[in-house]
């Protein structure tokens, strides 16, 4: 996984401050930079399977495939991404309102693909 300098510094900063977003171990962001959340895709699950976010607060999703090509799709969040095999992409998203949002892999990745999903809990 390639982590750029900016995100690495955010990560270290978050460790020092021991700031953890509720229900999720993702690092906190500075006032200027969106929080970065690392999500791994590997047949047939995302890790973590649940992430807690705040409505109206932009975040950057760092999506990493550890094997084949995967999708990252949520209609209400406007997400329709493709994660190339063995690579990573960064995607910005601002959760619009509180609620539970299901995100699915929509790029067929094998026989267990049909239940590859995760949840954003937006508070």
């Amino acid at each position: 996984m390639n982590i750029n300098t900016n995100r690495a510094s955010i990560f270290l900063g978050s460790l020092a401050l021991s700031v953890v977003i509720a229900g999720n171990s993702a690092p906190a962001a500075s006032a200027q930079e969106p929080q970065v959340i690392d999500i791994t895709a590997k047949r047939f699950a995302f890790s973590p399977s649940e992430v807690h976010l705040k409505a109206g607060q932009p975040v950057t999703l760092h999506l990493v495939s550890q094997d084949v090509k995967h999708g990252f799709f949520s209609r209400p969040l406007g997400l329709d991404e493709t994660i190339p095999a063995g690579q990573s992409i960064d995607v910005k998203v601002t959760p619009p309102s509180p609620g539970k949002y299901s995100i699915i892999c929509d790029n067929f990745c094998g026989s267990g693909h049909g239940n590859m999903k995760m949840t954003f809990v937006v508070e």
């Binding site: 999708g71 929509d106 067929f108 693909h113």
Partner: protein, 328 residues
């Protein structure tokens, strides 16, 4: 032309007690001798060389040959049973369409090929010459349809049959649930020669609308496909993928999902998770059934979803018989 002829006037599904899948009948008699029929017949005759005429066809879906799991320990038995039932129809259908997931995916190319061969072997026992296919994601997503094409030909194509224009539309082989701009342009060009009243049947695998996106029951650019179809007044979309019956009307088009021949999914409005309905040994083919639309009524078509029961194979003894016999 006044819209005297709508889809209700030409689409008829029949065969309630006859078998699996869905048996559709295009009934010229339902059109009567109306001026609309005469006009459409003339237009279709000029465009296709063949005017609409009564005929019937069957839709089968999601046979998943090669699947072996708890939701259906019987493997291909439902498919084989469907073949047997279709072959005994008193009025043989002239055409059978398969709306995807003919086979279940495998990591091994040799195994995938073996499953496609097995599918074709079973399908070859159908007493109907005209068999048409469209792929599901299990058939074609993993290699962009390469192996599927070797066994079944193009993933998207069209043909005319008894004055009806059929379009097989691939929305799986790009990996994601989408048709793609190139195929949509092809569709637009393919339809351009037809009058707006032409009867058109699109058969595809995934729903072309947002039925349940969280369960991957959608096609991301399905709205663009339906925009291309919007000017046409008699459009029927037949699809599979969701392993349950469903009827949806959007604009001029009516969308019908067929039950599968392997296992069923529940109503997504009733359960939180996408899990197959558990196998019931007392009713081995429960939830694998047919839909009947009765066009004899003057008003809206009567749609009857009929769950198939196979009494002779019910219960524990019946299951043993089913597993022993070569064909159910």
């Amino acid at each position: 032309m006044k819209r005297e002829l709508d889809r209700r006037s030409f689409l008829r599904m029949a065969g309630a007690s006859l078998g699996f899948g869905a048996l559709y009948q295009f009934a010229g008699s339902a059109l009567g001798n109306s001026r609309a029929l005469a006009q459409l017949a003339g237009e279709m005759g000029r465009e296709n060389g063949e005017a609409p005429a009564p005929f019937s066809f069957v839709q089968l879906s999601d046979t998943h040959v090669g699947f072996n799991g708890p939701p259906d320990p019987l493997g291909t038995k439902a498919f084989e049973r469907a073949v047997q039932v279709i072959n005994k129809l008193p009025h043989k259908p002239e055409l059978i369409i398969f709306s995807g997931d003919l086979t279940h995916d495998s990591e091994k190319p040799d195994e995938r090929a073996a499953r496609m061969k097995q599918f074709k072997q079973i399908a070859s026992t159908l007493g109907v010459q005209n068999l048409r296919y469209v792929p599901g994601e299990h058939d074609a997503a993993i290699d962009e349809g390469a192996l599927y094409r070797e066994y079944f030909g193009n993933t998207s194509y069209s043909f005319d049959f008894r004055g009806v224009h059929f379009v097989a539309l691939d929305n799986v082989s790009r990996g994601k649930p989408e048709v793609g701009a190139e195929r949509i342009a092809w569709l637009q060009n393919d339809l351009a020669r037809f009058p707006k009243t032409a009867p058109i049947v699109v058969f595809t695998h995934r729903p072309l609308f947002d039925l349940k996106p969280e369960w991957e029951w959608f096609t991301s650019d399905g709205d663009k496909v339906m925009n291309v179809l919007a000017p046409y007044e008699n459009v029927t979309v037949l699809y599979g993928h969701i392993h349950r019956d469903d009827v949806h009307e959007i604009g001029h088009a009516k969308h019908y999902a067929a039950r599968s021949l392997i296992f069923a999914f529940p109503d997504p409005g009733q359960v939180p998770d996408k899990k197959p309905i558990a196998f019931d040994a007392a009713q081995p083919f429960k939830n694998l059934g047919i839909r009947v639309v009765d066009q004899n009524r003057a008003s809206a078509p009567a749609i009857n979803d009929i769950e198939l029961t196979v009494n002779e194979y019910s219960g524990t003894v019946g299951i043993q018989q089913l597993l022993k016999s070569g064909v159910a």
